[in-house]
Every structure is written in C-alpha cells, then in structure tokens.
C-alpha cells in the first residue's frame, strides 16, 4: 500500500536584538537565571509593552528573504492560556495580522510554501530538575519570529533540508544567531500519512525538536510507527508527541481532540503602526550578504574551490573572519584552509569568540614562504589563537634564525674589522670585548642576544689565539 507523507513545519527563531520584544530587559544567554528581567517581564500590574524596532526590522528582513507579502500595518494580538512560563497569562503575538504572508523557499527544485511569518515574544524557560520545576524569566520576552509552512513537504530529507536552509538564511542575514543547540531556533513538526496524495491524513505534531539530526531521527521513527499502525488497521489519533533523544523514539504527550481556545484579541496597549513603504525599503536595503552572495564572492572573485567555499560556509564566524582577513591579504586559499582546519578545530574545543586580530593573521599569511616556512607560520598562528601576540612571535623566530645561520659570519666580520680591539682584549682589557659586542649588535641591528655574542666572541678570540700560538711554535 502506498502512503503519502505530508509535513509542515513551525519554526520559532529568536531574533538577534540587544533587548526584549516589548521591554528594555537586556538579552544575555550567559546570565544567571532571573537577572535579565524588567517589571514587564514579570507581568507586574500596570506595566506596558513597547515595541522593539530592531526586532521589527529583523522580522521584515526574514519576510523579505522568504518572499512574503509584507503587511504594512504592524498589529499585535494576545493569545491567552494559563501556564507558569507565561507570566502575563497571555503571549503577545500576531494572530490576525502576521507581518508576512504567502512566502516560499526553493528546496531541491520544490517550492515550499510558507503560510506566514509573524513576530511574537518568547516564553519563560522552565527547568525541570529532581521533580521540581524552576522558572527562568531571562528568556521571557525575547523577540521571536515564527515561520509556518504549508503541509507541502513530502519527504523527511526535504524537511531537514528546508530546516538547514532556514538556519543558513537567518544566520547569514544576522536575523538570529541561529543555534539550535542553544534553543535559539526550535522546530515543531506536523506530519500525516494518507492513502491519497491530495488529502492530508491525521495530523500528529512533534514538539520542540532542537537539532536537525534529532528532527531526522524523530521523523523517520514517527513515519515508521504510523505506517505500522496503518498496516494493522489501527486508527491514528490527532495528537502531540515529544521526541526522546536517548531512546530515539517519540512519545505521546497529549491528544489534539480537544482544541484549546486561546481567546485571541487585539492588544489594546499597542497602537496599530503603519510602516511606510520608504521605511520598509530602507530597512530591507541594509542587510548583510546572504550565504549565496558570499559563495559567489569566494568562488568567482577569490578563486576558492567549491569545496573550500562550502567548507567555510558551514560556520558563519569563520566566514566573517575570512572576509576580514582577506582585506589585508590576497592569499585567499591559504586563509580559507587555515580557517577550516586550525581555527575550526580550535573553536570546537574552546568557548567564546575568536580573539585573534585579522590583520595579524593576514600579516603572518603574507610572510609564509617569504621569511618563514609554512609549518612554522602555522605554529605561530596556533599560539596566536591562544592569545600570544603574533607579531612578537614572528620577531622571535627571526632572531632565532639570525643566531643559528648568520651569527658566525657576523662574529668573524667584527673580529676582522677590529684587530686592535682584539689585541687589546688579549692584553687583558675587558672593555675591548664590550666594544666588540657593541659592534655585533650594531651590525645585526639588535637582532642577536648580546650575551650569546659575547660568548661567541670570546670563543673565537681564544680559538684565534690558540692557532696563532700553534703557528709560533
């Protein structure tokens, strides 16, 4: 029996703003719980929402890139339900007038229709531990966009590809940090199996998938589970399920038979705001490059291979660094390789941002095969990642090179040019040796260690003396 799969996605994506959607509460993912909270976020009586303009701008950017029709009337509604993650007892969202409608995204030659993109506020985070639930209001009120597709995705792979593409879009356009593992992007999946390709089967929702691999596993498991049920002529009940990452199975959460009535109403505290055409255009004009645009630049202008470009594009921080470095050097391929290998492996084992200065990296790369071999340069860059100053490391290397190769020549030159001083020294005048050391420093432009020069001078003079005595004998 042929069964047809229909998948629809609801993607929640936290926006990259400094403050919350409707309050001046700062956003900081590393802050201790309940320390980034304004009276509004606790829903103290009398607090009022104010709209975060930056969030509106980022949401517009998302609507634009997803090809949505933008509603110029910015309006917000209340969605009511009682739950401890929702202090106000309602969430401010855009139920009746989403910012964007009727968009689409091409995935593997299939047009995935996007029903709506709307703005809303995130809920508080509930932390369940040892049978006890704690509430962290830091997350409460972080701006979100929700992207809702039509149930038109027909394979698990396409669903995952769609999700990957969304992650790339929002990350490269700096709409969101786009990290699923940090909960910045979350996905709910609706799926149904039916015997007729044109009608949908019974809708089953899997909530809160937090990585693409989990999404893939959950979908495969759920499709198999439902097929099994249908084979055995069991009916599938509309329901919500959750995915257990350890067991790699989905579990029943609640039935969808009884629909929750959210009692939507327009939020009377927020006036309708008409966004002017000019303002919207201005906002959309000023956006970072999409990853496709960056790919074009890397391959066409910089001559990177397809593989190199794709490899870099896996990690936005590296791409940003790549373009910063290549402001100062034309060694594109060298930079790309170094970023993809050394920096990537470093960033995997280290928290926090990459602090190395792009111009320093460029300097080092430019010196490769000029004053320093590749292997040495790589070592220095590695130390650079650990916070060592690259310029100083390179200078040290140069000094070391001087002492081992050219020092002897230098010493001989100084001794040959100053026979009188040698003579004086041999007579026991120590000051003459100091003068010779000075001459070495002068000739080497200070690139040698004076102590080392002193020793070498002594050694050489002793040697000269001995051979002179030998001759006399």
């Amino acid at each position: 029996m042929d069964l047809f799969l229909h998948i629809g996605l609801e993607i929640h994506c936290e926006l990259k703003t400094k403050t919350k959607m409707f309050s001046s509460g700062p956003i900081d993912y590393h802050a201790s719980p309940n320390t980034r909270v304004q009276p509004f976020d606790v829903a103290f009586p009398g607090t009022l929402p104010t709209i975060n303009q930056r969030a509106v701008e980022l949401a517009l950017r998302a609507c634009d890139v997803l090809g949505c029709t933008i509603d110029p009337d910015l309006r917000f509604d209340r969605k009511h339900y009682f739950y401890p993650d929702l202090p106000k007892g309602y969430q401010i969202t855009q139920a009746f007038h989403p910012l964007g409608r009727n968009g689409s995204l091409m995935i593997e030659d299939q047009k995935i229709l996007i029903e709506r993109v709307h703005l809303e506020e995130d809920t508080a985070k509930l932390v369940h531990k040892k049978g006890c639930t704690s509430i962290d209001l830091n997350r409460c009120g972080i701006p979100l966009i929700e992207i809702v597709t039509q149930p038109v995705i027909t394979s698990v792979d396409a669903a995952c590809s769609f999700m990957e593409e969304i992650l790339r879009l929002v990350t490269y356009l700096e709409i969101s940090e786009g990290k699923m593992e940090k909960g910045q992007v979350r996905c709910d999946v609706n799926l149904s199996l039916s015997k007729d390709p044109l009608t949908l089967g019974t809708k089953v929702e899997i909530k809160n998938l937090n990585s693409i691999s989990h999404m893939r596993e959950a979908l495969h498991y759920e499709v198999a589970r439902q097929k099994e049920q249908i084979m055995h002529h069991q009916t599938i009940e509309p329901q919500t399920r959750r995915y257990d990452e350890k067991e790699k199975k989905t579990f029943f959460l609640r039935t969808k038979q009884r629909k929750v009535d959210y009692r939507y109403m327009p939020d009377p505290n927020l006036p309708w705001i008409r966004l002017s055409k000019e303002w919207i255009q201005e906002v959309l004009l000023h956006r970072p490059s999409t990853y496709q645009e960056l790919y074009q630049r890397m391959t066409l202008k910089h001559g990177l291979s397809e593989h190199q470009a794709y490899d870099l594009l896996k990690q936005k921080e590296l791409v940003d660094l790549y373009f910063q470095i290549t402001e100062y050097t034309k060694q594109f391929s060298m930079v790309a390789n170094w970023l993809c290998v050394d920096v990537r492996s470093w960033s995997k084992s280290h928290e926090g941002p990459i602090l190395i200065k792009p111009e320093e990296i460029a300097f080092m790369v430019n010196e490769i095969d000029q004053t320093i071999p590749y292997a040495k340069a790589r070592e220095i860059l590695k130390r650079g990642l650990q916070g060592k100053p690259i310029q100083a490391e390179w200078e040290n290397y140069q000094k070391m090179q001087f002492s081992s190769q050219d020092l002897d020549r230098l010493i001989h030159q100084v001794l040959a040019q100053n026979p009188k001083s040698v003579h004086d020294y041999l007579k026991g005048k120590d000051r003459a040796l100091a003068y010779l050391v000075g001459q070495c420093m002068k000739l080497s432009k200070g690139n040698i260690d004076p102590q080392k020069a002193k020793e070498l001078l002594k050694e050489n003079i002793d040697h000269l003396e001995r051979s002179a005595m030998d001759e006399e004998e």
Binding site: P45, T47, R78, P87, G89
Partner: protein, 453 residues
Amino acid sequence: MRLNDSIDSQQLARKWKAVDEKIQAVAFWCDETEKNDSSFYVAVKDNISVSGLPMQAGSHILKGYRPVYDASVIGRLRKQGGHVFCKSKMDELGMGDTGLNTGTTPIFNPYDLSRIVGGSSGGSAALVASGCCPLALGTDTGDSIRQPASYTGTVGVKPTYGRISRYGILPYANSMDTVGYFTTCIEDAAYALEIFEGKDSNDMTTLIKPGGSYHRSLDPSLAGKKIGIFHSVMKTINDPVLQKIFDDLIHYLERKGAQLVDVDIDSKWLNLVDPVYKTIANAEACSNHACLDGLRYGSQPIADTVEQAVKQARTTGFSSLVKKRFIYGAYSLYEENQKDLFLKAQKIRRQIVQEYLMMLEDLDVLLALSTPDIAPQIVDLDGSRMQIESLSNSHLKLDNLAGTPSLSLPLGWKQGCPFGLCIRSNRFQEQKMFDIAKAIENYTGLAGLTVEV
C-alpha cells in the same frame, strides 16, 4: 489655587486619621519620614503603583504586593512638589460603581455617612471632599471618577485618552482606562492636567499633542460659546429639584450670551452604549487580570501543583462580582462567540463613537447632569453592590468609548447632598471644557467646596 496653600503636615496627618475613621477611605498610609510643609499632599487611588507602598486595588489576590516601580504619574507628581500621603480605597480592580466592593469596609459618603460615595475611585473622591487633600489621583474606565465626583461635590476630571500615561496603573480595560483626578476647584483641575499630561515612552498609547497652560489660559467668558444640551440624557431626569437647578443654569448661560442647543444621538446607538461597554471592558479585564495567578506576587498560596495554586489564588482572591465579569469576558472571546460578541461590540463602538464625535464637532462643550440623582442610600442597594444601569448614568461611558475629555463639577444640592454637572468636549479640547467649567463654577460659587466630617 488651593494646591499652593501652605499646610502643616503634622496637623494634616491628624486630620486625615480622624476623617478616615468615619469615611473609611484610606487603603494604606504612606510612612514617609521626610515631610515637607511647602509641598502638597495627594491621595493616590490604590490601583496606581507607588514603589514600596502596598497596592491591593481592593482585591485579596494582591494581598502583600508592593510594586517595585513608580507609575509615570507619580514621577510627574513628585517633580511638581507633590507627595503621596496615602493610597485610597476603591472598588475591587476598578469594577464597581459604589465604593462598597472594596474587599474590606465600604467607603462612606462624607456628606451623609449612610450614602454611598460612588466608584470605583470612591476613596480619592471622599478624601478630597472632606478637605483632606486638594488633589487626589483616580482612574476612569466607565465613569469611575466623574460619578463619585458628582456624589461628593468634587471636581472630577477624565482627560482625553492618551493625554496621561497609564504606565504603572493596574488596568481594568486598557482601551478605555484613563488616569484622572479630583480637585475642589477648576483652577486646580486645570493646573493638575499640566502636571500629569505628556508623552511617555513607556506607554505607546500616549499621544504627542501640544500641552496647554490650561490654568493660565482659563477664560470664563460665555458670550458666543456654543453649548449643547444632551437631550436624551436630560429627558430621563425626572427629579424636579435637579431638573430645576439645571434649567436655572441654562437660563443663566443664555443670559450671558452663550448659544444653547439641544443635541442628541439616535437612541438606537445610545441604548447600545452600556452593552457595548460591558462586552469590551469585561473582555479586556479578563485578559489583563490573567497575570493575577498568585505565582509571582500577591497572595501566594502553597499547593501541590501549579494548577492547584492558581485555582486557589483566583478562587479565594476575587469577589463573585469580579469572577462574573471574567466569565462574561472570556465567553465573548471564545472562537465561536467572537464574531457575535467581542468583534460586534468593537464594530458598534466605532459607530457610536462616530455619532458622538459628530455631535461634539460643532460644540464648544456638551452638558448633562453627571448622575440622575444624589448618592443613593447604602441600604437601598440591597447588597447587590451595584447600581441599576440606565441611560442617565451610562451616558458617561460615551467618553470612555470615544476617548473624549469629560469632567464633573458640583452644581447643586438636594437633601444636603451634592450632585454634579458633566461637561465634555471633543478630543484634546480640555481647555474649552475648563473654560466653561470655570464660568459655571463662578455661577455656582462652589469653588473650593469641602465638608466637615
């Protein structure tokens, strides 16, 4: 202006305590150690947040709650030398028009302790009426300032929606909630608007409109002023005493050269004011008070589960009157009812407002009695804690539906109790309203009216 009168704060405190024993108008005293004789003291309705002072808004569910921030109006008040002296009692969450539904004892009318004071800003009205303070803050969602003002012989002002910030005001119905105040004379009322008005970045519904120097600009001239008489409302007044006093006023205004015109709105719209108001107010209230779940502040009951805790807090925390309104509110927002109730009410509201604004357009001000009679006896309300709705009192809600300014000013007496005249003008035309009010105050001679309790 009485706001500038110098006072002795110690003496004032003694007076307030003595008065309050009789009228029961104070919810919480402010234990401010630093008292300054040069400033003026203000009673603040207990739904306005004052950092550190308790705020219960007449509801048990907020027991123990102390705001951590000041409402914007409190900041503005302090900037002008005002001090918060106490939080005044009110009907629970602003729901009620009697001053009886306060969660504790009723508030008594200072003119006659057997009568109601009105509500929901009853405490503030009573404190101004009894001479405790020259200014008290209130809020007006349906008639909550103007109706108690009428019953207590005070000037009660509800400005244009958007004039004064609502930030920090425990809401009732956001689209109609208006911060206003009580004074004993029009000069103070005009000055007070200068104190409180202005755009606030914390309240997106405040509007940038050039403020006025209302007090200095007061112009009580009547010649050539076009004054409307709200025909349908006055038709319902059947008390001969009130009717005569109103008629005398009209003759006076005409003698002074004002142009008096009978104006009206189609009764089909007027009859809908009350149901439309209730539908919208209950829906918004039900939503606004969803945050009162006893989890983060207020009465925080201990229970096994979150659901039980919320249920317990809300079951014991609200009076039956409030719960009833929540149920109406929720019902009108259910998906299957929205179209027939909430959305329909919104639609009709727009039509009523259109009719009303059209009526106001040609007028300087519109007049009607604020209430159909003096304050009712407490015993006559028969435990319902609500008054009977009729056009003669529901007409005040028109200004909440439309956002127009409106005030009540003491006009006359019956059985030793005062009643008020309602003066309203078009949006942002408070100056016109104050000007005529000043002229009428000159006629009544009731500026600075207070009563010894």
